[in-house]
Symmetry: D2
Subunit: 256 residues, 4 copies
């Protein structure tokens, strides 16, 4: 998709996102969106598309670090639970508890009973959140291996993307089918009435982002909450200018 077309389609959705955030704030909604998917599919970009125009004090991104040894010994969901939203908050999970059914399973970080227990507990856990009134959305971003290869190569070559390339990513190249299989098992166990998965094709990342955003916005109630009326009278005097007495600003970057 061309950048211009992407931006044109994105602009009105951004306004809808802003309206949704205002509604969540005004009514105390709690919103959780999970971003899962194939490596390189474009989770980071999709999260940015949702969050970048929202208030960072309202919309949090939960990108958990590797668990500590103590955390590894706890109830599996424990370290995720502390990131769940308070009233009015939106939490975007950059990867989530589904790690256990994906990378941990395929790479052998979790054993078969752990994975089985996770697949059994996840729907129950999510039902509790949903019954508690949390609005939960689960997105899985898919991409063919041809695109994946291209993006891995780009990560290798582009210094700005180099940090995204981990040894695990490379090990995953030979495990495309194992990841597919893991995903199917995950969907079979956790695609529930109360917390369904939504699969989005991210072979074209811009289109993928629009698809995801459109779907998310369509599934949230279209309740308009007018922004608070604010009185903005003229200033009524000459605006002031900055005056510094202790230290001066540094020289500005050359304008040409």
């Amino acid at each position: 998709m061309k950048s211009r077309d992407y931006k044109a389609a994105l602009a009105p959705m951004r306004e809808e996102l802003a309206a949704m955030a205002r509604w969540a704030q005004a009514t105390g909604q709690r919103i959780v969106v999970l971003f899962e998917g194939r490596d390189t599919a474009g989770k980071g970009g999709a999260i940015r598309a949702v969050s970048e125009k929202l208030n960072p004090r309202q919309c949090h991104i939960a990108a958990l670090a590797k668990p500590t040894e103590a955390e590894q010994s706890q109830w599996y969901f424990q370290r995720y639970v502390r990131h769940l939203p308070s009233a009015g908050e939106i939490v975007l999970f950059d990867r989530s508890w589904y790690n256990r059914a994906g990378v941990e399973k395929v790479m052998g970080y979790a054993d078969a009973p752990q994975v089985a227990r996770f697949l059994e507990q996840a729907p129950t856990f999510e039902k509790m959140l949903v019954d508690d009134g949390i609005l939960l959305f689960k997105y899985w971003l898919g991409t063919d291996q041809a695109q994946q290869e291209e993006r891995l190569r780009e990560r290798l070559d582009d210094p700005l993307k180099r940090w995204k390339l981990s040894p695990v990513d490379l090990a995953a190249r030979g495990k495309y089918d194992a990841y597919t299989e893991a995903r199917e098992a995950m969907l079979a166990a956790t695609h529930t009435e109360w917390a369904p998965w939504t699969l989005v094709d991210f072979n074209d990342q811009k289109r993928g982002r629009l698809t995801l955003l459109r779907d998310l916005l369509d599934r949230l109630p279209d309740t308009r909450v007018a922004p608070p009326q604010i009185d903005f009278p003229p200033l009524g005097r000459e605006p002031k200018v900055e005056r510094y007495t202790v230290i001066e600003p540094i020289e500005s970057f050359p304008s040409d």
Copy 2:
């Protein structure tokens, strides 16, 4: 500044930022950057310029919510301390402990002895962090009231920016001079050898961002850390394509 010129100047700085982040990771550096300044100056945009291409698991944005009643009764720095970085981390404070010397002072949320104590403790607190090896940078973003008025008006009119407009912002319109005075007192008390302030003119926000970024990069050691050597052999077989059996991806956003 024109968007095209901005992007052209930004691109090489982004590569330097990526290199800096790699260096921080490799050597276990801890980096703290405070973003303070006049309302509407452009803190959010400046933070985004630093963070948007970095690993969110390495570069954290600390945008603290209003303190709870318990937090209000604690040692003033307590709730900030928990956001200080571990080895390899970069923390960008979207507003910081300097709230007390700015908005809290001007709006009367803190009383005179609290402000005085803060101005006395801040340099000491910061000296402890710096002596501990934390790299601390303090930026204050300035803007004339004419620009501020224009941006407030824009926040009022643009639904995407409406959330940025709070009653406090409007109350601040009549207190431009009081904020100036508070800032000067803050600079006089906390512009120290070990933790100096850097003032940046944000009357032109794009230029301001470049100025800040250039300064930050110039002050960090220019130590190159080569990315880990990664072997990327050809895949050696036909790349796989996504195959779904449980549920299918939703229809993609129309491409035209």
Copy 3:
């Protein structure tokens, strides 16, 4: 029960508790014990009987403060989850998530749908913990109102116990039956195969503590783990005495 008899019966149980703690440490068990019950029944004393000879770095007491406004808006179990044990830890809950089915229900802090949802979720929540391997014990301490009245009076008169007397306690005097009813509803909904309740008569608190302790110890596996072999050779020289040069100890309390 007489103090002497109590101590005689308690002594061997303390050794069993110590052995149990060693076993938990050595095998990475996670143990959770909930202490619920009628006001003044003796939860605090029972908790002390379990904990007082154990390592405070292993055995934690979770006595949660009143929820903040943000916590009140979260998933009900969220603030409890963060106190769940890591490997080798024992957590004693001084009141627990069952607040919602007791005091919050009777005093009207939670509404009927909240209580209903709690009674539905609690067994599910606990099943997840138990299936994860956590050893969960739920004790409810009962006492007749005659004893309760006596103990309330004692709290009023004894300066050491005065802090235990809250206005809620007094309001509860007239609600003995409502509490009974709430407890029965709670038992009916949450006395499950995987997380059964144990009711203990605390009309005699000393006997109650022994009853509870005996039951807890009987239900934990009786696996002996020998303490690590430690070599303790003679010191082989004259023991040293304290010598102070900077400041001296303060004068000791008179010995007679």
Copy 4:
């Protein structure tokens, strides 16, 4: 000291402690007490003497676990800061930030520059807390090696105390003088006007506890705060008795 004399002397102090806690609550005081000292001196018992009759929701014991790898890389005081009290709270530190000047120095867990930086920062850190209004008390409990040897032997032989015996304790037997030296360096650097140390002889632990308690109580203002007036009318009807319908209490421990 004989047990009977100890109890007789302790009883009135307990009432003073209760009054002090009420005063702290009513006036929003924040109290921090550090318990440091020679291994086996009796820190745990002293902490229990202070805390055991106080409200566990007001009086917290901070007994920190071994730092995680991330914590080890943070500003040294960071993990302690989060345990500092809110208004009305009393925090008893079972070992404290002074670990760095004691066990970490002697056992080589911290290097010389780390110890030197700690000794420089500790007074500054404490001054900030004290200037913020926190009431800070620092106790160091001393004991001659003869007593220490006896108590180590007891820990080895008494199953209830066995958990207190760590390999570090035994390694410390040969380092009595190194610990003395470390303590003297610590006192020289951190015995300040605003946060003085108090040394207490714990060769007799009961006397030591009374000495410490007496000193603590004498240094806290003797402000009486009357407990809130509470109206306790007669119940006015027959007290109820427990009636169980779902399950019955388990059989009580035999009374003879």
